[in-house]
Subunit: 385 residues, 2 copies
């Protein structure tokens, strides 16, 4: 077990009507709010009105930046930060899923400094402060609501990267499972894939942390036991709640304590597909994970088998990989490039972009020939059972 520090500064407010306290919470940070959201679904499902009612009650000035893309880009972050600077806002309020909250994290870092978002993310600038960030989560998936990470892409340089900084933990995150009722069956499934992938990225990381492994198994089993039921009844509060809490737990530190690092090779590979084809993040992961496991099955067979025994009750790496792939398929999430709508003739472009982006993984290293293998596996014909 490696040394670790356990301290998560985010206050997570979970449950029915928790945003009834949103105004009161925001008020302690100031009078000028930068509200950040996506392409307007929150206006259709009523969440925007609920949030504005809370802000009205505390009499604050609200500036808005909307239009954050599902695969968020730094151009939006810089534009939003400009508004924040111009009006000297006191707090950023993000209302949305991972893309909105990740963007808001970098907005909160960019506002009080003289650098662009991208310069910060590639560590050319080292911000020493961030303005306070409060989030209202509308999608159970990324875990960003309780961690210090953000993933953004740069359209100009064709890169999509992750960034971490303790300054960007949200001060408060509000998670009302009912706020995810309007998420489609498809995106609900991608969220389930995403949370499982987060737990597994830590599981396949470096270091021997048995209790964190057990927490991984707990989270994956929770997603497997309640995910399919949720897809059959998207308006079930209780199922929404279980998946939402599992998603937070998958990436708030719990699955990582005592390890040297996670792996994140699968995410690195998946990001390239989103970058090139604007594929939904979760959908890329259900394609990449089985392929990555096939690549790794001779390198870390015991570890894969241990996962299979614990969460699928199957023996051996091959059966584990089949079981995971089968579960993703059962959710309706793609497990091959074809399901993402990516044609065979893009293979070289994908491989080149992965090489150019230096996709390599933190623990199980991925070399150039591995990239060719893993992309080949993603294009392979799916096994039928």
């Amino acid at each position: 077990m490696e040394n670790f520090t356990m301290h998560n500064p985010t206050s997570l407010h979970f449950g029915r009507n928790v945003t009834d306290d949103l105004g009161k919470t925001i008020a302690q940070y100031g009078k000028k709010i930068l509200l950040v959201y996506g392409k307007g679904s929150i206006k259709k499902n009523g969440i925007y009105d609920q949030v504005m009612e809370q802000l009205k009650q505390i009499g604050v000035e609200v500036f808005e930046y909307s239009g954050i893309k599902p695969n968020p880009i730094t151009e939006d972050v810089d534009a939003a930060a400009e508004i924040g600077k111009k009006h000297n806002v006191d707090v950023v309020l993000a209302v949305g899923g991972g893309s909105v909250i990740d963007s808001a994290k970098i907005i909160a870092l960019t506002i009080p400094c003289e650098h662009s978002a991208w310069r910060i993310m590639i560590n050319l600038a080292k911000p020493e402060k961030a303005i306070p960030l409060v989030s209202v989560l509308t999608l159970a998936a990324t875990g960003t609501e309780m961690n210090p990470f953000a993933v953004l892409q740069n359209v100009q340089t064709h890169k999509k990267i992750g960034y971490g900084n303790p300054l960007i933990y949200p001060k408060h995150s509000f998670l009302d499972p009912a706020f995810t009722f309007s998420v489609s069956r498809e995106y609900t499934a991608y969220g389930i894939v995403d949370l499982i992938a987060h737990a597994l990225e830590n599981y396949f990381g470096k270091g021997d942390a048995s209790l964190s492994d057990r927490f991984v198994f707990a989270i994956v089993r929770e997603a497997m036991d309640y995910g399919p039921a949720l897809l059959d009844d998207l308006q079930d509060y209780d199922l929404r709640a279980r998946i939402m809490y599992a998603a937070t737990s998958a990436l708030n530190g719990l699955t990582a304590y005592g390890r040297v690092s996670g792996d994140w090779g699968v995410h690195d590979l998946g990001h390239i597909l989103s970058l090139l084809f604007d594929s939904p993040h979760g959908a890329t992961l259900s394609v990449v994970y089985p392929a990555w496991l096939k690549l790794m099955k001779d390198r870390t067979p015991e570890r894969i088998s241990e996962l299979g025994k614990a969460v699928f009750n199957v023996n051996g790496a091959d059966r584990t990989i089949l079981a995971l792939e089968g579960f993703f398929k059962s959710l309706g999430s793609p497990v091959r490039m074809e399901g993402l709508g990516i044609p065979q003739n893009k293979k070289k472009e994908i491989i080149d972009m992965m090489v150019q982006n230096k996709v390599n993984g933190a623990h199980h290293k991925i070399e150039k020939e591995d990239i060719e293998t893993v992309v080949g596996l993603m294009f392979a014909k799916a096994q039928t059972e």
Copy 2:
């Protein structure tokens, strides 16, 4: 799933040599330190010297209060708080196990107010502040290092009660598994029982929180897989680390989120045995838990069976209870009053004290006749397998 807020303000520093940062950490809180510890084992095992070296490096003034008892009493808390008041200390540093840290929590609350420790604990006084508390843990058991709870007894009123207040979370807790090397086999076993009991008190609480249940199973299995090995090799750093992290996880919130409450009936019953006979806390729990489960097996059979399936791979409530009792026995922790050295002729006194202390449990209510039953079961002849 019930609404909950997840926010634990303690910074937990876990691993080898983490106390190398103790001085630096303490320094940010002030110049006058009240050092609280127990009956001097930290002087024998060298921890006292290590801590004093850290304090010397930062040039602070140290006032000491030692002699905290294994079953801590409010008289010590009041006496220590007097020293703190007299010297106007800035921070309380607790070095020890649960008894020392629990005492230090109430000391930190008592110093800045005009009330006695007991008045605070029975809620006749409502302190509005506490001075900062830093802890160095030397026993893996109670989880106090990362929660807002303390249990103390009052010798005069013959009561032993728990108390909770967000003001008493330690600011920082330092957990070096090597600091538990000198804990005896016996007390190491009691610590393992204690951590399992904490997870189970939450499991048998009110409310349906499936992921928290899974975390309970994870923690109990971790203790079962590594506890016996640790008892065979008390100097194994890695085994000490696994048990230490499991003990923190059992009662830092993780096993409780999404529930209405825990149960704590077993702890209530056990506290009476410590009060009357000065029995070690963990040792009382290995006697009480099997008896309590036998009392509850017709009231909540599915819940007990679910636990048995998940952690012992057995079917049914009876087998689950036998398996838990068998595991406690295998650790060398007592499972009947005889093992605690409590004779049959104390039965009435015990029952009377339990009734007088209003032992009742938060979820599964314990009536007077239940107390008679459960005490009878604790005195019963142990089953042999």
